[in-house]
């Protein structure tokens, strides 16, 4: 559990650094013996880090199983998800990583999606070149927090799921890594160039920004973006990120306006902006993020342009002696058609740091009749068992 962090950290640092505690009992010989042991172990570490084994493979990932009871609706075991992650490494210069997501739908059919598949070329101490489909560096929730065993709630904050205000993935290239310390502060960066996203009507008729990375830019200029983050305190990160480019829309009979043609691809201006914050102090974990995507007008289409924006703030406290973790989260999502908000409360039980049972209650509200008719203001009780491996 968390208590092992300071124990192990203390064990390592104390052996190496602070032998002064019992200074009166220490002889030069015993000190030399300790240094020799550490030195041998350090050499062993070096040998292990530089082993002759040039390539290798690892299967990691996570899975979750969920149940929900919706106000004015039914209760169901409604989540079966299995997400294997494959790592293949060649020497210390290259690593491939890919994640599949298997889910089961209401008809019992299995759905498979490629979350990401990218090659990482380790160019130097500060730079990794990434090529393929990768989780968008814009923001943090989608990139780093969404896996079920990491997310402290059984659901994503409003607007941070698929087809919301957050950005899912990109197909393209990126450079990223950690930077040298400046004023004793660590920082990291990511810049990327990727195919343009798509603006369309979703299956339910809602207008959406489809940010699932695809293998065509549909003739539009590429999206360029990045993220920069600093760590002003231990266990704290503040990040700012964004992207700019064009977004592509294919005109349909339902969306065409003025002189456009059906199936004609048109372009609109597009940009995104995100600020994220995370801080862990003792057993208190605080996370917050604001993201927005802006889509410009095009007179050939009647799909409404505007802002898709969402934000959330979350606090969780681990009571390690009982393996319990109460969590509270507020999230808010709006787009040109809907505004909604949610307060969610959860209580987690940690069988282990990567095996977690969650029970949560969501209090939802929406501000227009369409959303209310779709049940988006219905409260929900959720339960989930999640584990990472």
């Amino acid at each position: 559990m968390k208590s092992t962090i300071p124990i192990l950290a203390f064990a390592a640092t104390s052996v190496l650094v602070s032998i002064n505690i019992q200074a009166n009992d220490i002889t030069v010989e015993s000190l030399q013996q300790q240094i020799d042991v550490i030195s041998q172990k350090s050499n062993s570490m070096q040998a292990q880090l530089e082993s002759n084994e040039k390539s290798g493979f690892q299967l990691a990932g996570y899975a979750s199983f969920g149940w929900s009871d919706i106000q004015n609706g039914s209760n169901n075991f409604d989540v079966v998800q299995f997400s294997p992650i494959f790592h293949y490494q060649y020497s210390n210069i290259f690593q491939f990583e890919g994640e599949l997501e298997f889910t089961v739908d209401e008809l019992g059919k299995t759905k498979i999606e490629l979350e990401y598949a990218a090659g990482n070329l380790f160019l130097n101490n500060y730079m990794v070149f990434v090529a393929g489909r990768f989780m968008s560096p814009v923001g943090q929730f989608v990139q780093n927090i969404h896996p079920a065993w990491i997310n402290k709630m059984p659901s994503a904050p409003l607007g941070f799921g698929h087809d919301g205000a957050s950005i899912s993935s990109n197909v393209g290239i990126a450079l990223r890594g950690g930077l040298p310390k400046v004023l004793n502060t660590r920082s990291n960066y990511a810049i990327f160039l990727a195919n343009a996203p798509v603006f369309e009507q979703g299956d339910d008729g809602d207008t959406i920004i489809n940010t699932e990375g695809r293998t065509t830019s549909n003739g539009a200029s590429k999206t360029i973006g990045g993220r920069f983050a600093i760590n002003p305190l231990s266990s704290m990160e503040i990040g700012i990120s964004g992207s700019t480019g064009k977004i592509v829309e294919t005109l349909t009979t339902g969306t065409i306006a003025n002189s456009g043609n059906v199936n004609e691809k048109i372009q609109r201006d597009y940009n995104s902006f995100d600020v994220d914050f995370t801080y862990n102090i003792n057993s208190l974990d605080i996370k917050a993020e604001y993201i927005r995507q802006k889509v410009g007008d095009n007179e050939l289409s009647n799909l409404e342009a505007g802002l898709w924006k969402a934000y959330y703030a979350q606090a969780a406290y681990q009571i390690t002696s009982f393996k319990l973790e109460p969590v509270i989260r507020y999230s808010n999502y709006s787009n040109p058609e809907i505004k909604s908000s949610q307060v969610a409360l959860a209580l987690n039980y940690l069988f282990a740091n990567n095996v977690i049972a969650k029970v949560a209650y969501e209090i939802n509200s929406a501000d227009n009749q369409t959303a209310i008719a779709e049940g988006k203001d219905n409260n929900r009780m959720l339960a989930q068992l999640a584990f990472g491996f």
Binding site: L49, H87, P147, T278
Partner: protein, 88 residues
């Protein structure tokens, strides 16, 4: 043309940064980073959770996701391997 310009800028930056020297491993720094960095996103995984080999691959994954330098990654890995007992 714009795309070519953007790509050129990226690859220019890429080519500048090659061949920077790495430092020797530092287990104490690795311990500090392990305690400070992992917890920002997720519950800390104990050294015993994964095999030595799996830790090597996981740490390269985390180097990309958490924005660690190559040296920082090696230090954290060294600390984890140092902390594992013979039976882990």
């Amino acid at each position: 043309m714009k795309t070519i310009t953007k790509s050129s800028i990226i690859f220019l930056i890429l080519s500048i940064g090659i061949n920077l020297n790495a430092q020797n491993i530092d287990i104490a720094k690795g311990a500090e980073l392990w305690a400070d960095t992992c917890i920002r996103c997720h519950n800390v995984r104990e050294p015993a959770d994964l095999s030595k080999r799996a830790w090597k691959y996981s740490m390269n994954h985390m180097r990309v996701r958490a924005g660690l330098t190559g040296d920082e990654t090696k230090n954290v890995l060294a600390f984890i391997l140092f902390s594992k007992t013979e039976n882990d």
